[in-house]
Amino acid sequence: MFDKYIIDPSTVRNTGPEDAPDGFAFETKLGYYRGLRLSMVEELNVGIDGELFARDAIRFDEGAGPLTLYEMETTYDRRWAFGAPATIYVNCPGGFPKGDHTLSLQQKLRISYMPFPSFNNDEKQIRFG
């Protein structure tokens, strides 16, 4: 319902030392019409130009500190609020590649009243560096 808005392309930035970045980060909103506790955010699949990063390269922070996707599976006491930006950190030696690239994100959500998972997909063209 909000797929086209879930990546904020203006927030892509490198992380780590300026001369030797170890990854990048960007802001995302939950593609759903209400907030969710983090255990129900099953996957955050990030890719550049169609190449997906490994699950353990991703960290998520809605404001209370970064978590791996494994840690999120049992995080029942933190909530990603409706419309609230959170940060995704991606381990990526060298940082976000220079030039024009496609950044993609798929959020896989476990919505209790739905018989199947909910997938939200967005991709944005990023000009970097």
């Binding site: 319902m1 808005y5 019409y33 907030g35 129900m40 099953e42 599976e73 409706f82 209790s112 009243y113």
Partner: protein
């Protein structure tokens, strides 16, 4: 004075609120400006600290709606039975979660709680003593593809009858009265690659009320439909047209209606949902409650145009006023049975 009150669910403004273009109070202020003074809230959407609300926060919420001459009509609950990946919520945990919502609903002074349709009737039966004590009506959302006489919905009716309670019933979503296929759906699928002649076949099949599976097979197999065409045909599974006359039979079981709509024409008519028949049935049986706008058109047009939820809701309320007056002229204002 009409017994049918007009209101708005904050769900209607999800696009603007998601994008930070409107806050909750902006939505309430807008609702007041069109005389839709009943406010339906989704605490898990509208209250960032949910489920923790201090007494001071509760007071602020009440004061905010009162400041605009509005009042709360309904509370939309959720139930995260799949909170854990490996182990569903136990029955006791489900009841605990529902009682948490009933309690917050009561603290906010709200009398109607929208219960998700998938919640088991026997679980709700166990919640009835709490609902009675807190004086909150639990209304199971009758949402397409369910309908008023679907066997699953009848289980809730039977549970309410068995317990002889006024605090368990239903809460109909008007999406069950889709008389015509929404033009906004069709247009979106055509933008995604559905061929006009296939889209027309699907619309015609819906208009003829042909059961969805026949049309899906025709499109997917016989016509070798593309992805957009098959997806469009599959929406028919969720596009029922139930008989609005049945509303009168179930009127004692609901006090609130989610007035679902996908788009309003410029002349303030709804191209898809049979509101004329719905409102005629409600007025005819003397139903008393709130018609609460639930605009869900944003997702069908946001790929090509700006969403203007306020204008859509405004048009729906012009229609409500017109149709309520028309039905009252026809029936007179009746006392509830």
């Amino acid at each position: 004075m009409s017994k049918i009150k007009r209101g708005v669910s904050l769900y209607s403004f999800q696009e603007e609120m998601f994008l930070g273009q409107m806050g909750v109070e902006d939505c309430v202020s807008f609702a007041a400006s069109i005389g839709a003074t009943g406010i339906e809230i989704l605490p898990e959407q509208n209250m960032p600290t949910f489920p923790d609300l201090s007494d001071a926060q509760v007071d602020e919420w009440k004061a905010m709606v009162a400041r605009h001459g509005c009042h709360f009509t309904a509370y939309d609950m959720f139930l995260d039975t799949k909170l854990r990946k490996d182990q569903p919520m136990s029955d006791d945990e489900q009841i605990e979660s529902i009682v948490r919502d009933l309690t917050l609903c009561n603290r906010l002074g709200i009398k109607n709680m929208r219960v998700l349709v998938f919640v088991r009737p026997d679980i709700l039966g166990r919640c009835v003593p709490y609902a009675e004590k807190l004086d909150v009506h639990m209304g199971v959302e009758v949402h397409a593809p369910w309908h008023l006489e679907h066997a699953w919905i009848l289980r809730t009716i039977e549970e309410a009858d068995r317990l002889d309670t006024k605090h368990l019933g239903i809460l109909p979503d008007m999406g069950i009265f889709m008389k015509h296929y929404p033009p906004a759906f069709r247009a979106r699928f055509e933008r995604q690659g559905a061929r006009p002649e296939v889209a027309q076949f699907i619309v015609d099949s819906h208009e003829a009320k042909i059961m969805a599976e026949y049309t899906i097979y025709e499109v997917a197999v016989k016509m070798q439909g593309n992805k957009a065409e098959v997806a469009m045909a599959e929406t028919l599974r969720h596009a029922p047209y139930a008989n609005p006359k049945r509303l009168a039979d179930y009127a004692p079981y609901f006090h609130h209606i989610q007035a679902k709509f996908y788009e309003m024409n410029e002349d303030c008519t709804d191209p898809a949902i049979a509101y004329e028949d719905v409102i005629d049935a409600l007025v005819g049986c003397g139903w008393e409650g709130t018609l609460s706008s639930e605009y869900e058109g944003n997702r069908w047009i946001q790929d090509v145009s700006e969403v203007d939820s306020c204008e859509q809701v405004r048009r729906q309320h012009v229609m409500f006023e017109r149709l309520i007056a028309k039905a009252q002229a026809r029936h007179g204002v009746r006392e509830a049975a």
